[in-house]
């Protein structure tokens, strides 16, 4: 027999007229109190349903979080890169493989002797700097581990000699006097005679014609003088045998 609780429906906060359970544990228990089946159903019906997008996220390309933080350090590095590209005539990009520290030190020493500096730049800093400058075509070189050799002079021959002794550094490309050269181009550039020699050659080639002007102009009179000399010799030769024959 279900016990009826007091009060009528006109009382505020009414309790149901019939109380379902008579003898049971209290409301707050140490163990998980078993729920009435109807309550269990209610809890199951009122579960949280998360919103599903029409296209699942797995099918869409992943959204890359763009974090834009203009770091002072990044700005400094970019300025250094720009300076290096502006102040140096020869810029060589090489592939950098891990090598023993001593060999690295020696290589830098030898290059320093020829006034070539070895610079390490981060690709993530170099790429934006180059893409906005006139060196856009050097961008494909700055992928992977690389180093940059910069120099205000263009001593390609000495540089190649040093690099030949270091198998871990491979030349990828260079930009000498605003001219992009490949590995072969650098080798050919190295084979070129030095500036003084080529200047001398040019001067010699140019001076060749003017040097001949003098001899060209003198050719007529010189030929005439030669012919006259020959004639005089012939006359003398003709006169002397007649004289010798007359003497006899």
């Amino acid at each position: 027999m279900a016990a009826l609780s007091g009060g009528g429906p006109w009382r505020r906060g009414w309790l149901p007229a019939l109380q379902v359970v008579r003898h049971a544990s209290k409301a707050v228990t140490r163990h998980w109190k078993a729920m009435h089946f109807q309550r269990q159903k209610l809890m199951a019906v009122t579960e949280y349903l998360a919103p599903k997008p029409p296209i699942p996220e797995q099918c869409l390309p992943p959204k890359k979080e763009v974090v834009e933080e203009e770091d002072g350090y990044v700005r400094l590095l970019r300025r250094q890169v720009a300076e290096a590209f502006r102040d140096n005539r020869m810029i060589v990009v090489c592939q950098y493989n891990p090598m023993p520290n001593e060999d690295m030190l020696l290589m830098r020493h030898y290059l320093r002797k020829h006034n070539i500096e070895v610079k390490f730049f981060l690709n993530e800093i170099v790429r934006p700097v180059l893409s906005q400058s006139k060196y856009k075509n050097l961008l494909p070189l700055f992928v992977g581990r690389n180093i940059v050799l910069v120099s205000p002079e263009t001593k390609a021959k000495e540089m190649l000699r040093v690099l030949r002794g270091v198998p871990q550094i491979n030349l990828l490309g260079a930009c000498i006097d605003d001219t992009i050269l490949s590995k072969k181009g650098v080798e050919n550039f190295a084979k070129l005679p030095s500036l003084e020699a080529s200047q001398g050659q040019t001067v010699g080639a140019l001076a060749l014609l003017p040097s001949q002007t003098c001899s060209l102009l003198q050719r007529g009179p010189v030929r005439l003088a030669a012919l006259l000399d020959e004639y005089i010799r012939q006359l003398q030769a003709g006169a002397s045998p007649s004289q010798s024959s007359e003497a006899h």
Partner: protein, 265 residues
């Protein structure tokens, strides 16, 4: 082979501040002359400024106060059980006051002197009293619990007072920790202490607590289920109130006894 430089970036700035620059930081050109050979790696280190603790003042006693087993004036009258002090959400000590990090109770329960000592000693051992401070957010045990002697039959009246406990409801902060420290340093021992409490608890900071609350609100807003416990209970759909308690109108299906159902909306 051709891997972009960002792959080699070291793990992002942690909670612990990196004071000062690392000597020979990567990315810088080897301008050092004939010095030590610097092996340069790819990846740019982001130098994070150390956190600013200028507004933080440490109280005189930084460690947790000793809690008495028995209140100064022990109770004479034995009190009824009143388990409703465990049930439902907490009304007091739900927000941070002094510290930045704390232990949040995610269920109801009673803390007795043993729990207090455990918390006091563990936190006192793991924290640095010069830079951190800890503060209780629960009172000392005040509620008398009676226990009948073992092996006796039922009856004979209520037993004598055995010990005292503190009642804790879900959503209440138990301990607060603050000072010149980051959450990463503190959450290790706070989580350990939280696991030893008689109710489920978690180590929180001001940010994580706020995020938890925001997530709950978001869940309520973007719930795709048109049927919610609150709606069905208040409208008494299908006569559901026959199987529900009047407290369920207040608890909205998130609380059951002393338990807090966090996954429910």
């Amino acid at each position: 082979m051709a891997a972009p430089a960002s792959e080699f970036r070291p793990g992002g700035s942690g909670d612990v501040a990196a004071a000062g620059a690392v000597a020979g930081g990567p990315g810088r050109s080897g301008a050092a002359g004939p010095g030590s050979p610097v092996v340069l790696r790819a990846g740019l280190k982001k130098y994070v400024l150390p956190p600013d603790y200028s507004g933080v003042t440490l109280p005189e006693r930084t460690k947790l106060k000793f809690m008495d087993k028995v209140p100064a004036v022990p109770k004479v009258r034995r009190e009824p059980r009143r388990l409703r002090d465990i049930r439902g959400p907490s009304g007091e000590a739900t927000e941070f006051t002094q510290g930045q990090y704390g232990i949040l109770a995610l269920g109801g329960g009673y803390l007795h002197w043993g729990h207090f000592e455990m918390m006091r000693l563990t936190i006192g051992r793991c924290m640095d009293p010069k830079t951190m401070f800890a503060v209780w957010r629960v009172p000392a045990p005040y509620k008398p619990i009676t226990r009948k002697s073992l092996g006796h039959r039922m009856g004979g009246g209520k037993g004598p007072i055995d010990h005292y406990v503190t009642a804790v409801k879900s959503g209440r902060l138990v301990v607060e920790v603050g000072g010149r420290c980051e959450f990463g340093e503190v959450k290790h021992f706070l989580a350990r202490v939280a696991g030893k409490l008689p109710f489920p608890a978690a180590a929180v900071s001001r940010d994580t607590l706020q995020r938890m609350r925001e997530e709950e609100e978001e869940k309520q807003l973007n719930n795709q289920n048109p049927w919610t416990f609150e709606r069905i209970a208040t409208a008494n759909m299908l006569g559901m109130r026959k199987y529900l308690s009047p407290y369920d109108l207040r608890f909205k299906g998130r609380y059951w006894g002393k338990f807090f159902l966090q996954h429910r909306v």
